[in-house]
């Protein structure tokens, strides 16, 4: 059974370079907003974890 986490972009990139040769080219992209997005993602995930403590009741 193949580990689904092993399908990564770098693996595709390396194999694409083997298959497509010099058609695969490097490009510079300077990452922005990672901190802001990371903060938001953690907020969403933390809220999900804390929902375990919920005292709500629906009927």
């Amino acid at each position: 059974m193949v580990d689904q986490k092993s399908f990564t972009s770098s693996k595709i990139a390396h194999e694409a370079a083997k298959v497509f040769g010099d058609k695969v080219k490097p490009i510079s992209i300077e990452m922005q907003y990672c901190q802001e997005v990371g903060t938001f993602l953690k907020k969403v995930e933390s809220a999900h974890q804390r929902a375990e403590n919920s005292q709500l009741l629906f009927k």
């Binding site: 992209i29 969403v44 629906f58």
Partner: protein, 521 residues
Amino acid sequence: MNDHRLIPSLDFISFPTASPFSCFDFIKDRFDETESIHRCFSIARSRGLSCITVETIQPVGLVADENHEITSLYPDYSMQSLVRLGFWTCEFENDRKPAAKDAKHFIGYAICKKDSTSTRMDWHVFEAVFPKYNHPHNCVPNTKSYAVTIGDNEFRVTGIIYCQQNVLNKSCAQVALRSLLSRRLIDGDIAYSKINKIARNNATTPDWKPTEGLSPKQIRAILRSFDIPFRDIDYCEEEKTNSHIRHEIPYQKYIYAGVESGAGALLGFRFDGPAAGDSKHIIPFFGHTFNKDTWVPDADMSYFNIGGSVGYIPSESWTSSFIGHDDNFGPNFCVPRVYVKPSQADYVIELLPDQYEYGGLQAEASALPLIYSMMPLLCSSTNTWMQRMGQCGASNSQRIVLRALAVSKETYLIHLQELTDWNNNQENSNILDFLPERLPKELWVVEVSVPHLFPANQHKMGEIVLNPLIPFNSSNPNDYDRFILARLPSRYFFINEVKEGQPKFTYLESQLTSHTSLLTC
């Protein structure tokens, strides 16, 4: 778990519904004017109802299971009546029963039950299935085909099963769960006794009764018992430390993501008005309506800011209503997207497809750094559509539309294969041959578009493809292992390596050089 739908009936009678027949009188005479049953008739009437078939059936399968459970809770319980209704767009001459040739006239069905204890006697809809309203902007993904016997033959209807509470062994929460779970469980349905058994094991008091309803803890336990992943939020809990949470993470985001992924969502809310009290209700959502002329996105009121001046326009902005069931009033209602005020929405849970580790809102947010980091590159591109996307995504406007879809690898690959861009180009077959063995079996596909293109053409610039099977890690929230590829006009982008926390990219030319159609629901 189909026995109760397929059991032969004890009797059969049909009623033509043309004037002077009155659904009002019929429901008053036979069903005590039960609102949810009337809703079923109304849906059928709007679909061209010509005839109703009425059959008495014996309790078997899930109905028998329910009766057994109710008796254990209420020893004086008795089932007074169990009726299977069929709704048709044709009449059956000379009281004949429907034949196989009548299948195209079958609208839907309802199984209605009259329960009695010493303190109450009520009709309710044990279950009903009607297809969605037949309009291209009425989107209900992942419907299921249900087989039901009417007369001597089996007929099928496709939809999302509707169930009503009976204040005996099921409240709004149990029926809401059954609506969403029935279409994805391997057994094809779920017994309330099973739901309640799990709920009882996770109740805060040992004498918990089903009519007390379910807590999020019990709902979560039920979902976990079936290995159904989810993402939820209790706004009342979060408000203790963040008074802005309802605005920062709106409940509509969870509902829309759950609906678009085909798994659905539950919204728990409190009623409004002076007589509302503390009672809370929970209902399932499984669809939405699309309105390309919605004013909101252009009015800047739909810009979703995730913090630190970073945001986007979610595709949900063009949703006018969510489609769901209200167990008190009936199936297939359109609830305006903003009808339930944020102050009333206390709990929302987005169900995820099997094995998904994070939700649609997180997928959309995860795509943002790459999209906006590309803006300088896009603005300087010779490709017109890349330039347009760069202009829309400039830091002072950020008018990028995102739509996150949970799809299988196969669905995505077929989509890529079938894509034709506005210049009638199709993708390079070498790339289509290369990708299949290199993608995980499931994907979050975050489609990227711009205003006007998204609502008018229902087109996109491309997509960011993420691996949904990698768990979220708080110490590395922007885990680049989740990123698979980005496809934009004329190029695919990959992360070649990550050095000192910074990704290094490579690209490959795509033959799709302009905008393309969206993945359809």
